[in-house]
């Protein structure tokens, strides 16, 4: 199966860091979600860390609203923040509660170093750079989950993590990924014109993407028991 098409910028950045991208999207944690071999304890640990992650990730998408140039860019980033804070966090809380992790326990999760490294890198890239730097650092998480979800959904294996796979492989999330890819491509064109790959700036953006990809792979380690 081919990877889904999330636009031209993503394709270019992804290709420029093929090995880290592979390490991230084919990580043993991911394969364990797909074939059901991932121990429950690992998954729950991941969920707890991911709750903390989502707080900072929402902050980073809010920073994208601040750094946007047009109303359309602001609305796109703001819709993502709203979805994260008012829906995805709630979903997370309910999954955790069903697994016996109370809301209080969730909120008391101590942030792991890999979690801290990843989120602070993204936020700092956004603060120190511009809208494109921030989008390049945000992209591996959003779009990598989409690519993983789509692939695992196509495998149809018997796994207790079917819900997770259907969330990220499902139509709604796939549409979000295509929209995010289009937001990035339009933002790039509006700033860097029709041949951004020829500019030194492109390597800098690809570098942001590559570092975030490496940090995302390290994040999966938190889900190893």
């Amino acid at each position: 199966m081919n990877a889904p098409d999330y636009g031209r910028s993503f394709a270019s950045w992804r290709e420029a860091c093929a090995a880290p991208w592979q390490a991230y999207t084919r990580h043993p944690f991911v394969e364990g979600l797909g074939d059901g071999s991932l121990p429950r304890a690992g998954f729950l640990n991941y969920l707890r860390q991911d709750y903390v992650f989502l707080m900072h990730f929402s902050r980073a998408w809010s920073l994208a609203v601040v750094k946007a140039d047009t109303l359309a860019e602001m609305q796109a980033a703001s819709a993502t923040v709203h979805a994260l804070l008012h829906h995805e966090m709630a979903l997370h809380v309910s999954i955790c509660e069903a697994a016996g992790i109370s809301r209080a326990a969730l909120a008391a999760t101590e942030e792991a170093p890999q979690n801290l490294a990843y989120t602070r890198f993204v936020l700092e890239a956004g603060y120190s750079g511009d809208f494109l730097d921030l989008l390049a650092a945000l992209a591996p998480c959003v779009l990598g989950y989409g690519e993983i979800g789509a692939r695992l959904l196509g495998q149809a294996a018997d796994t207790p993590y079917r819900d997770w796979i259907e969330t990220y492989g499902g139509d709604e999330y796939q549409q979000l990924c295509r929209d995010t890819g289009a937001l990035i491509d339009r933002a790039v064109a509006d700033r860097l014109g029709p041949a951004p790959e020829t500019l030194p700036r492109w390597n800098q953006l690809a570098g942001r993407f590559a570092t975030a990809t490496r940090l995302e792979a390290a994040f999966w380690e938190l889900g190893q028991p």
Copy 2:
């Protein structure tokens, strides 16, 4: 009629800059809205500038999400961003269209110096300071409009600007003001404890509030024909 109660921090900061607050909330532009004497051309010019203002104001509230410490703070600020970007901006566009100002004309509005001064001051206060600095700079606009709306609504004069008055004097906006006041008071208590007025920090926050109040008064000048 007494001013509505939007909490303790607001009351303290407002009292500390009584003269600028008066100059802002009793500005001839405001009185002209209330008694109907404001020329239409002035109101339309104000609307056009306010459209640009709302873009930057939405960015500033998004920065509040980034600078928040708790999920509750993030959700409160994010709800305001969402309301501004997905509802209030649309309302603005429709009022302007009804008045013969096209969406394109609105988007092409050249930002006036008073507008630029105000919005950049708020954003910079947020970037350079913390969550409280940003809230103190945001408060005069949100809560001043509430106070003005409530007062003018109570006057029940015959004015073509009834819609404007009912929007800001109405229940929904008044509730937003009470919620914002409560957000500020809780954020202050969570950081500065039960007696914030005794700290040097309080004067700094009151200073942010006072400067924003002065810049808000200058903004009304844009609505003078």
Copy 3:
């Protein structure tokens, strides 16, 4: 006399806002410095506001250190900060003291709205944009003073403001201007490649430059008696 050569980016941005640039660099305040007709009271008021300005301008150049990509960029921006904070501010204090404005009076200067608008615009451009956005917003002040100084020095008129003219028209400041122009050109090339003028990004940078130029012209009004 031709304007001094401060590099290619400056020349392009300057040309793109010819009228505001003229209004800034040929402002009556400037002409009054040159021919000596500027009243002393106006000059002193300008000095007081400029002291406040230099504080925020130093902060903005420090932000450039934060936003730089290379050690060379960091060192260039840091050297400017050091010169501003440890030499230029001291010079300002001594000139003011000689004119009967005490250090305490200087520190107590109330920031004028035009001053606030300008400095917050520059800082916000830096925070929300990247290194290039910040440099484009900083350039009109640094390089405009150089251009004015060089022109007035060439006129050799009899004026009590000879010191001011010799400071900004003199070799040391002119070298700083050439260095700053070279820093900008190199930073542009390192990010946007050999033909930056062809990119949409260029218009955005030229826009930052043009707005800062307009705000700089408004700043001179503070020196009018």
Copy 4:
């Protein structure tokens, strides 16, 4: 031997994270510096990573200039930036060159994850918080090195790392530590008054300090062979 006195805020924050502070300042790497048992390869690896660290650390101190409230605060932070960028980096380069690591090799050092985590945490704390948040995150590095240097200098053991110990244990660096401690105490008093330890804000600042301390301990791991 007692730890040197770097002021009241430092003493309070240090005490509040006694175990991580011990893990940081008594780390095997540190003990290996003191008794000479640290392998040369480990020390050189540390130096290479520290070069990258100093770049980001200089950026963080520059951010302190941006976030400062007074000229005195700005000058203190700016002097540190200047010393880091124009002296300490040069010292680093010369030590590395003497050890056979060329300037080009140094500049090409790949940033380790622990390095990235630490520096981005500090910078993000500064961007998202205020001047105090930034100082609290900067303090463990500056003052911890001072404490370690003073202790190891007092031990007078035979070690090839004598230069390192004399740098950080020596008078000049110890004075910098006392000055930094005084800067922090004054900044705290100017904002939070005479009893900052009673405020919720204090725990937040102590939290910044504690996290930075943990990340600093993790950084030493880079020097393990």
